[in-house]
């Protein structure tokens, strides 16, 4: 199932690059929720998230040949370009702090994309829940809102060294946990 999906994605992208509208339809049905979810998480504004989704899929339609399957999964590529585009929007509107303030640490009812992909993909997925809350928050503020360690320190009222340390330790902990999961084999 998982390998079929990966091959399907490659085929879809090739067909889209050739102008196949049906392939584009299949692709956005598969990934529009994922892209919207990332855009909304970053910008915390449905209208802005909608524009970002439009931008991302327009880019796919116009430049599908830029996707290189040898570099990784299409879903990962989509999430990455969506996040980058969304952070650009926040920066241009000087809304990084505002969006980060609106970020709600409570885990809502929506399942994480990680859980959904863990079911259909044989690769390993981890949750940030393995991190202490203070490390997780710093990492999420940096990763999803494009804040530097200086921004985070100012926002949270913490010494710069504390923020750098929390991010460094959190990233290493995630690295170690991933290595451990990978050594166990696919779930």
């Amino acid at each position: 199932m998982a390998r079929t999906d990966v091959l399907d994605d490659r085929l879809l992208m090739r067909r889209i690059a050739a102008g196949d509208r049906a392939a584009f339809h299949d692709l956005y049905e598969r990934y529009v929720d994922l892209v919207y979810s990332m855009a909304l998480k970053v910008v915390q504004d449905p209208a802005a998230a909608e524009d970002i989704v439009q931008d991302v899929f327009l880019r796919i339609w116009q430049r599908a040949n830029q996707f290189d399957a040898s570099r990784g999964r299409l879903a990962t590529w989509l999430l990455s370009i969506t996040r980058n585009r969304a952070i650009d929007v926040l920066r241009q509107q000087n809304r990084q702090r505002i969006a980060a303030d609106a970020f709600d640490e409570r885990r809502d009812d929506h399942a994480l994309a990680a859980h959904w992909y863990a079911e259909r993909d044989e690769t390993v997925h981890l949750s940030l829940e393995i991190l202490p809350p203070e490390q997780r928050r710093c990492i999420e503020l940096a990763f999803f809102y494009g804040l530097t360690h200086q921004d985070i320190a100012a926002m949270l009222g913490l010494p710069l060294g504390t923020v750098k340390s929390r991010i460094r330790l959190g990233m290493r902990k995630l690295q170690a946990a991933l290595r451990e999961e990978q050594s166990k084999g696919p779930t």
Binding site: F24, E50, D51, Q54, H110, A111, L112
Partner: protein, 257 residues
């Protein structure tokens, strides 16, 4: 391995050790470093294989983070807009500006300001384009550094440019970034031009770039006309600001692929 990591040239050069760099790689992978600090670390990484390998080991962690988003169903309005893209955007592969509503409004306002004020705003837009070019090159560089199989070639300086350091990073898919530190700024009517040299000696244009201030770290994004494996070497010469069809000025850097 100690590598000078201060690209601005406006302060005394400080040494960025591998230990210091390693402590910042997680933040770099996360995008949590301020621009100047990120440039220092990236320059160290561009010259240090050990730190480069360590940076690559953060790639799976970054991938994990991407999936830490609550999955939300996109509203029907969003689905309809996306579904209409092939109808409204025209054929695939056709390049059009991607701009949301607010950016169009900004663009109209900026154009009116240009018409009123004139040359000063033209210069400002030029600086913005240069900044966007550098940001694009930085993104490409990080992507290259994180990609297994990316190659690095150290270029040697020619003549008096002995304090220059340069590394060309590239992948076979025609992505490349030239990282240079120490080149001197040129006159307004000049620029540095990169040449991609075929085995038979023919030169392809690798693009022109400028150095804004003495000693600064410069990133030049390279899009070769042919795949990298078709070239045997590279060189950088001083040319007119708009470039030349072939090398005419003195060579300042060279390297073998």
């Amino acid at each position: 391995m100690n590598i000078s990591g201060n690209p601005t040239g406006q302060q005394e050069h400080t040494t960025l050790s591998c230990e210091m760099c390693a402590s910042l790689l997680g933040l770099l992978a996360l995008g949590a470093l301020p621009e100047e600090e990120a440039r220092r670390v990236k320059f160290h990484v561009s010259l240090c294989e050990q730190c480069r390998a360590e940076l690559r080991r953060y790639e799976p962690v970054v991938e994990v983070l991407l999936y830490q988003v609550p999955l939300v169903r996109a509203p029907d309005r969003v689905r309809r807009r996306v579904a209409a893209i092939p109808e409204t955007a025209g054929p695939a592969q056709r390049r059009r500006p991607v701009a949301p509503r607010w950016l169009w409004a900004w663009a109209v306002a900026a154009t009116l300001a240009l018409m009123i004020v004139g040359g000063w705003h033209v210069a400002l837009l030029g600086q913005q384009r240069a900044l966007r070019a550098q940001m694009s090159a930085q993104q490409d560089l990080v992507r290259l550094l994180l990609t297994p199989g990316a190659r690095a070639v150290t270029l040697e300086p020619d003549g008096p440019a002995r304090e220059v350091r340069a590394v060309l990073y590239y992948l076979d898919d025609r992505t490349g970034v030239l990282v240079v530190e120490g080149l001197s700024p040129l006159a307004q009517d000049q620029a540095y031009q990169l040449w991609l040299i075929r085995p038979d000696g023919r030169r392809d244009n690798g693009g022109v770039f400028r150095v804004e201030a003495a000693g600064t770290l410069t990133l030049h994004r390279v899009e070769p006309p042919s795949p990298w494996h078709r070239y045997a070497g590279v060189g950088v010469t001083v040319e007119p600001a708009t470039g030349s069809p072939g090398p005419t000025g003195p060579r300042v850097l060279h390297g073998r692929l």
